[in-house]
């Protein structure tokens, strides 16, 4: 599949984190467009009417209103979002959380490292790996990554 511009959506309630993601994606070697939602509810609103759908969603697990897990469950229960890759991230350190999130249908789980450079590297890698699935039309059924 030929994609002219990669469309990324970010759902993050923290202003500083939003800035961080924005600058991380600026450094990508793929042309991209970033849509930012400031919480889970506005994310769901945005996605319901988005056309075409974005390619990949970065979703914060902890958000007021509707948290990342609730959004994830809702999205995965709706076949409209089958082709949307979902990356969930958190700074929580609870063991087993990665498995839980992947079972619920996330494709990528990121335990945020403290080092911003390390996080930036992970985000870039995730986008590039997802890019291979997109451009080669690989099945996302088994697309699972855990950081």
């Amino acid at each position: 599949m030929k994609i002219d511009e990669l469309h990324i959506v970010l759902a993050e309630d923290d202003r500083d984190d939003r800035m961080f993601f924005k600058s991380a994606f600026k450094g990508l070697k793929i042309d991209n467009k970033l849509t930012i939602c400031e919480d889970g509810l506005s994310l769901m609103d945005y996605l319901t009417t988005a056309d075409p759908l974005p390619h990949i969603l970065f979703l914060d697990l902890n958000m007021p209103g509707k948290n990342g897990m609730e959004c994830l469950k809702e999205l995965r229960a709706n076949s409209r979002y089958n082709d949307l890759s979902i990356a969930i991230y958190t700074s929580l350190r609870s063991p087993g959380i990665n498995e839980e999130v992947l079972i619920e249908g996330a494709n990528i789980f990121i335990r945020k490292p403290n080092d911003p450079d390390a996080l930036k590297k992970i985000l870039t890698e995730v986008v590039y790996i997802n890019w291979q699935y997109l451009t080669d039309g690989l099945s996302k059924q088994n697309f699972m990554l855990s950081y």
């Binding site: 599949m1 070697k29 793929i30 990665n98 619920e104 249908g105 690989l138 088994n142 699972m144």
Partner: protein
């Protein structure tokens, strides 16, 4: 009810191409992985028609030289990675270089320029995808899979899997099984 399928992408593509070329009355001589030979050439009109027909299947006609090379590399990697293949055990790097008549450094440079990923990482990604399919659909043991996929040992397979996905093969299997069960309940 869920059923799980396995399929041969090469064959699917070949059949689609044969059908479409036939329907459009286009003469061709051979279809090999990722390329078709038209001994009498192809008119601009037919080219457009074919492009339109193929796009429905997510197939596109590649025109950029670098893209063509990358597609050739990808096709060769796909052939090389088919489980149980009878190809002689050569390094993928020399296999690619020999088949494409280009030195490996050049190939790998062009590949990362176009794909934003090193050729090595790409091969591992593809190989891991196949391991996942074998794990889930054929219920094979890791030992059997490591033979099929020409890994030097089970440890090598497990390490590469873990490095590339962040999960051990057994955790991956567990998550997938739970996911399937969960789907069944919610469906």
């Amino acid at each position: 009810m869920n059923i799980h399928l396995k399929y041969n992408i090469e064959q699917i593509c070949r059949v689609i191409l044969q059908e479409k070329l036939g329907a459009l009355n286009i003469e061709y001589s051979t279809i090999t992985s990722g390329s078709i030979c038209f001994p009498k050439g192809l008119s601009a009109e037919k080219f457009t028609e074919l492009t339109g027909e193929l796009s429905k299947y997510g197939m596109e006609i590649v025109t950029d030289q670098k893209e063509i090379l990358v597609q050739k590399i990808k096709s060769l990697i796909t052939c090389m990675l088919i489980p149980d293949n009878s190809m002689p055990l050569v390094k993928i790097s020399s296999f690619l270089a020999d088949n494409l008549n280009e030195n490996y450094r050049t190939l790998s440079q062009i590949f990362s320029d176009v794909c934003h990923m090193s050729l090595e990482s790409f091969i591992i990604l593809r190989k891991t995808e196949l391991v996942k399919q074998l794990l889930l659909n054929e219920n094979l043991s890791l030992t059997e899979i490591s033979h099929k996929m020409q890994y030097s040992s089970v440890a090598h397979l497990s390490n590469q899997f873990k490095n590339s996905t962040g999960l051990s093969p057994s955790t991956f299997q567990k998550i997938s099984t739970n996911k399937r069960k969960y789907k069944k309940v919610t469906n």
